[in-house]
């Protein structure tokens, strides 16, 4: 195993608990995006650039935006209920 691969795997081992332990969903949306970037870096150092590209677009564009929009809708409901 190359040193770079070990480094990225270590980052992932730190990043996954960070996502789970972030309690505020708004912050979690950003943390999960950063975790997705680490995952893309892992695919890249394992010589799978196609998979890395897919991971980047899904984890940093598609997923956080959907979480943020869902949160915006939920908050608006909460405001109307008050």
């Amino acid at each position: 195993m190359e040193p770079l691969q070990v480094m990225v795997l270590a980052l992932l081992a730190l990043g996954a608990p960070a996502v789970v332990l972030t309690h505020d969903p708004l912050r979690q949306a950003f943390v999960v995006g950063v975790y997705g970037l680490f995952l893309a870096a892992l695919f890249f150092v394992l010589q799978a650039p196609d998979v890395a590209l897919s991971e980047i677009v899904v984890a940093t564009v598609a997923l956080p935006i959907m979480i943020l929009l869902a949160l915006a809708k939920i908050r608006e409901h909460e405001r109307e209920d008050e």
Partner: protein, 250 residues
């Protein structure tokens, strides 16, 4: 279920799952020791057979193109379902664009964010087009490029111009693009059936490996899928954005 019972259930479940996982992992090939024959065979055959230098794209859009057709319609059906679930129901109304117009803007969009966003739209669009059209040569292709293209429009929204985003991508056009992109990929498969007798057979001249116009139907398929994916994601986001910004309950 009490907190204690839940914890006991969790610990029991994780013990079983952990044992199975560890037992499974011990039988895996060592790191970097690939055992399957297909990867090596495809690595040797893809360039001479299909004239595409990105073997992954050659696999996705040629050797297993039929699987990709299924995947494509999974995305199509998912977005269709979302559009039906999030349609405007009785008792909901849209806010008129000029009424409380400020809320159509992204909250907190400063002029600096607007300037950076608008500066990024062009390069992002170009990157998306590049990734879609060069799928047969370098990593990337219709799916990744399609999402990048859709992201270019999302930047218009992030720059604080939701209404401009709606003008640049009218609903009818986006829906048409999504449907036409999905249909074009199926039609390319049908073309194989008509011209060579096999569904998804690569029926166009293969060209020189490494040139933009090479690998037969693969770049065409990528463009079709790119349009479909871009349309699907824009539709997805505008449905969500409408829900979050425009549609109001009674």
């Amino acid at each position: 279920m009490s907190r204690r019972a839940r914890r006991m259930l969790f610990l029991a479940a994780i013990a079983v799952a952990g044992t199975v996982l560890i037992a499974g992992f011990t039988d895996l090939p060592g790191f970097g020791h690939y055992r399957g024959p297909y990867g090596k065979v495809l690595n040797d055959l893809a360039v001479p057979q299909r004239h595409g230098t990105d073997v992954v794209t050659a696999v996705n859009f040629d050797y297993r193109a039929f699987d990709t057709l299924g995947e494509e319609f999974i995305l199509f059906a998912a977005v269709l379902g979302l559009a039906i679930v999030l349609r405007q129901r009785r008792g909901e109304h849209t806010r008129a664009p000029d009424e409380r117009g400020d809320e159509h803007r992204f909250p907190g969009a400063s002029s600096a964010l607007g300037a950076v966003g608008l500066g990024l739209v062009g390069p992002t669009l170009l990157l998306g087009l590049y990734v879609v059209t060069h799928g047969q040569l370098t990593p990337g292709g219709g799916f990744q490029g399609g999402v990048v293209l859709a992201a270019a429009l999302l930047i218009v929204f992030l720059a604080g111009e939701y209404l401009v985003m709606r003008v640049m991508a009218p609903h009818a056009l986006v829906e048409l693009g999504e449907a036409a992109g999905a249909a074009s990929y199926a039609l390319i498969g049908l073309g194989g059936l008509i011209f060579s007798g096999v569904f998804f057979h690569n029926f166009i001249a293969l060209g020189t490996p490494g040139k933009l116009l090479s690998a037969g139907t693969i770049p065409l398929s990528n463009i079709g899928v790119g349009i479909e994916v871009a349309g699907a994601f824009i539709l997805l986001w505008t449905e969500f954005l409408d829900q979050a910004l425009v549609v109001r309950g009674t």
